[in-house]
């Protein structure tokens, strides 16, 4: 039996890697949407152009439970695509957001090692897959997500 152990090892490796090649590692189902978990709270400093309207920092908790929230994550290097996309997304959401209690703003999140960046208002996201737009309920439960424009 022991002499055949190496065959098992090789066969196992063959199986797992072959299976691994058949799938797309870039496909990431949204954890928030699947488990309906509340969005984690955060406080981040705002970029200069938005301080007049929103103050020095932005805390998600202050807005939870009041109205539907659109959080928009994107990376700080996403220029000019994210900047240019902003009016498009705002137009889409903004039209519906005329009713009571709707607002939208952008946040951003770099992909790098722990590099969290300041959120900015009205600058929605565009970019490669891990820069999702998350849609949620007033309690901050994830409703769904989409990537790109």
């Amino acid at each position: 039996v022991k002499g055949w152990l190496w065959v098992l090892v090789v066969a196992f490796l063959a199986g797992i890697f072959w299976w691994g090649m058949q799938r797309n590692p870039k496909e990431l189902p949204s954890v928030l949407a699947k488990e309906r978990r509340p969005a984690p709270d955060f406080t981040l400093p705002l970029l200069p152009p938005y301080r007049a309207a929103w103050g020095e920092t932005f805390r998600l908790g202050d807005y939870l439970g009041k109205r539907p929230i659109v959080l928009n994550f994107w990376a700080s290097w996403c220029y000019p695509a994210c900047y240019e996309e902003a009016p498009v997304l705002e137009g889409r959401l903004g039209g519906k957001a005329q009713g009571p209690g709707c607002s939208s703003w952008g946040g951003e999140n770099t992909q790098g090692q722990g590099a969290r960046r300041a959120p900015a208002v009205h600058r929605p996201s565009f970019g490669p897959p891990p820069s999702p737009q998350v849609f949620g309920t007033p309690e901050g439960r994830g409703g769904g997500w989409t990537t790109g424009m």
Partner: protein, 643 residues
């Protein structure tokens, strides 16, 4: 003659020569006819020349901007500077396979010149030609660097900007490949030894090869860390990325082999371990390549997924199956019967090998854990740096402990005078740790100080012992330097201790600060006072650069940059790193006011001792070079016993 024609012809020739060489080498073994072996040996320089011609063809195409080649069209542009053009052959998949194949033919050629009995020589050549058949087969079929385009563009996009952003990228891949390919020779020798059932001499014969491969792997890894530090813009040098791990594993196994090989050479033990380490080290290099080429695991290093994934998987499985299958066949004959005293040189070396291979296993498990979980539980998980750091710290500390005491222990069983040294070492360890704690360092950093002191003292003791032994024998004390293996390994051991200290401090005491500065605004942080004086844009042809002008009190004007490449929709940071012996000051431009240039977001990362990591890397390479220096072989391979 066009580059495409020359390239395709050369690849086809190299493949044909390799196939013929494989056939002749196998015939030489099966028939016992030396004429076949002679023929196989004669083919080695021919494959080398063919591969060289193919490589020259690719450089030719790049230098003459021959965009009719798909590889050139995809990875080259008219605006590339000369050095970028010259290193573009390893900017993408097909070219890097060509480089790999070229280096393999070089190693095969050198290996074919080494004197060896005809049985094993033919098997060694068969394995090496077999490896070449794989690489040139891949190049001739699914990943040809010389594929032509029906409608060539007038200009291309240029290579991946990450490659152009730092000159280290010209060095790092070549060093890695030299290391990877170097491991194929010990593997071939191991296979030959297991087939012919001559278990002893191959270790002595391949130690040189293993050391060369190890030296290149070490240099390649340090170069990669440097590149990562200066290009990726996060101020770190190691992220436990799957591909970093996949190249760390062969390094660990090669290190284990270098140490257990000493025991087999001196005492004839650990035969099975040596076979296993060499087989696994070689197949781990193929596994790493499979990872980068197949998209099995997501990684920053991953090339675009192509058809080469299954080919590399098959070759990896074949190499592993061949090594492990042969080992299981001869396992009864290579089993160790002797029991080792744990407090002897061989005991320490075996324990060290366990640490290295255990580390390799843990890193592999962490890397593939997401794949395993997804396969069996269907869930997506990720294993991050915290896991790897947590398991690596104790293993690394164990290795550092063994590294100090191991070389001081005599073979077989401890002698009395060893204990005096041991007490000295333990005192150094305790003293260093205590000093660290008194200075207010964390426990981990203090232990690192203790271990550094402990290892430095151990190296000093060994040096003194060697010099004293020479003097007692009536020789000049300087003649100890002629024991290149001993002296070189002491230098490497000291460098490892230094590297460990630098890693411990840079990981523990990293300081990061970020601020958005308006024009004229000053900011004082981490002992540096800087004033933001505005941004400047520069059109550099192939890229567009934006630099922030920061006037600092300590380093004059510092200009961190962002590079915008036309083929990338996101800028690449080009941080300004100021190395000092104490701390590294890493200035990073994060963002800036695109409309008026009124403000810029700047990050400063202050990391202690990173400078010493590069020093340690250079010392490791120098120590290895000292051992390998031709004048020392083979006399200096023998040790002068201090007793």
């Amino acid at each position: 003659m066009t580059p495409a024609l020359l390239g395709n012809l050369s690849v086809a020739l190299a493949l044909a020569f390799s196939l013929l060489g494989l056939a002749l080498a196998l015939l030489a073994y099966l028939q016992g006819d030396r004429r076949f072996l002679k023929g196989a040996k004669a083919l080695a320089p021919l494959t080398l020349l063919s591969a060289l011609a193919a490589f020259v063809a690719l450089e030719w195409a790049l230098l003459t901007h021959d965009f009719s080649l798909a590889y050139v069209a995809r990875n080259h542009s008219l605006q590339d500077p000369l050095w970028v053009t010259l290193v573009t052959p390893w900017a993408a998949l097909e070219g890097s396979i060509l480089l790999w194949g070229l280096l393999q033919t070089l190693y095969t050629f050198v290996a074919s010149r080494k004197p060896l009995d005809p049985w094993r020589a033919s098997l060694v050549l068969a394995v090496l030609f077999g490896v070449q058949v794989f690489f040139f087969g891949v190049m001739a079929t699914i990943a040809s660097p010389f594929q032509t385009l029906p409608n060539p563009p007038a200009d291309g996009t240029g290579p991946n900007p990450l490659l152009q952003n730092h000159w280290m990228m010209a060095v790092h891949p070549v060093l890695m490949y030299l290391g990877f390919v170097g491991l194929s020779v010990p593997y071939a020798y191991a296979v030959a030894a297991m087939v012919t059932r001559r278990y002893q001499s191959w270790v002595e014969e391949t130690r040189w090869w293993a050391l060369i491969a190890w030296g290149f792997l070490t240099a390649g890894k340090v170069a990669g860390m440097w590149w990562s530090y200066e290009v990726l813009g996060w101020g770190g040098y190691w992220a436990w990325d799957p591909v970093e791990n996949a190249s760390f594993v062969p390094w660990l196994l090669a290190t284990a082999f270098l140490h257990t090989a000493i025991v087999q050479q001196t005492r004839g033990a650990f035969k099975a371990w040596n076979f296993a380490f060499v087989t696994l080290a070689f197949s781990a290099t193929l596994l790493g390549t499979f990872l980068t080429r197949s998209g099995v695991i997501q990684s920053v290093h991953a090339f675009a997924e192509g058809p080469v994934g299954p080919a590399f998987l098959g070759f990896f499985l074949l190499a592993t199956a061949l090594g492990l299958g042969l080992l299981s066949r001869v396992s009864r004959e290579v089993r160790d019967v002797a029991v080792f005293h744990p407090f002897s040189r061989e005991g320490a070396l075996l324990l060290g090998a366990f640490f290295f291979s255990g580390w390799a296993l843990v890193v592999l498990l962490g890397t593939f854990y997401p794949l395993l979980v997804e396969a069996f539980a269907g869930a997506k998980v990720s294993v991050g740096a915290p896991f790897f750091n947590q398991v690596s710290a104790p293993i690394g500390a164990g290795i550092l402990l063994l590294m100090g005491v191991g070389p001081l222990l005599p073979w077989r069983r401890p002698r009395k005078e060893v204990f005096r040294n041991l007490y000295l070492l333990l005192a150094a360890l305790a003293l260093g740790t205590l000093l660290g704690l008194l200075r207010g360092y964390t426990l981990g950093a203090s232990l690192a100080v203790g271990l550094f002191l402990y290892n430095t003292l151990a190296v000093a003791l060994l040096f003194a012992e060697g010099v004293r032994a020479r003097r007692l024998a009536g020789l000049s004390p300087w003649s100890f330097l002629e024991n290149r293996r001993r002296v070189g390994s002491l230098v490497v051991h000291f460098a490892v201790a230094l590297m460990a200290l630098a890693i411990a401090f840079s990981q523990t005491y990293r300081l990061e600060a970020e601020k958005t500065l308006y024009k004229g605004q000053a900011w004082e942080v981490a002992g540096v006072r800087m004033a933001f004086q505005g941004v400047r844009a520069l059109d550099e042809g192939r890229r567009f650069a934006v630099e922030a002008l920061l006037r600092t009190d300590r380093f004059g004007e510092v200009r961190p940059r962002l590079h915008f490449y036309p083929q990338m929709n996101s800028p690449l940071p080009s941080p300004k790193v100021i190395y000092t012996p104490g701390n590294d000051y890493y200035f990073l431009l994060m963002d800036f006011d695109r409309e008026k240039g009124e403000w810029a977001s700047v990050r400063l990362i202050v990391t202690p001792m990173v400078f010493w990591m590069w020093v340690a890397g250079v010392l490791m390479a120098l120590g290895t070079l000292y051992i390998l220096w031709p004048a020392s072989r083979p006399e200096a391979a023998r040790e002068v016993s201090p007793a």
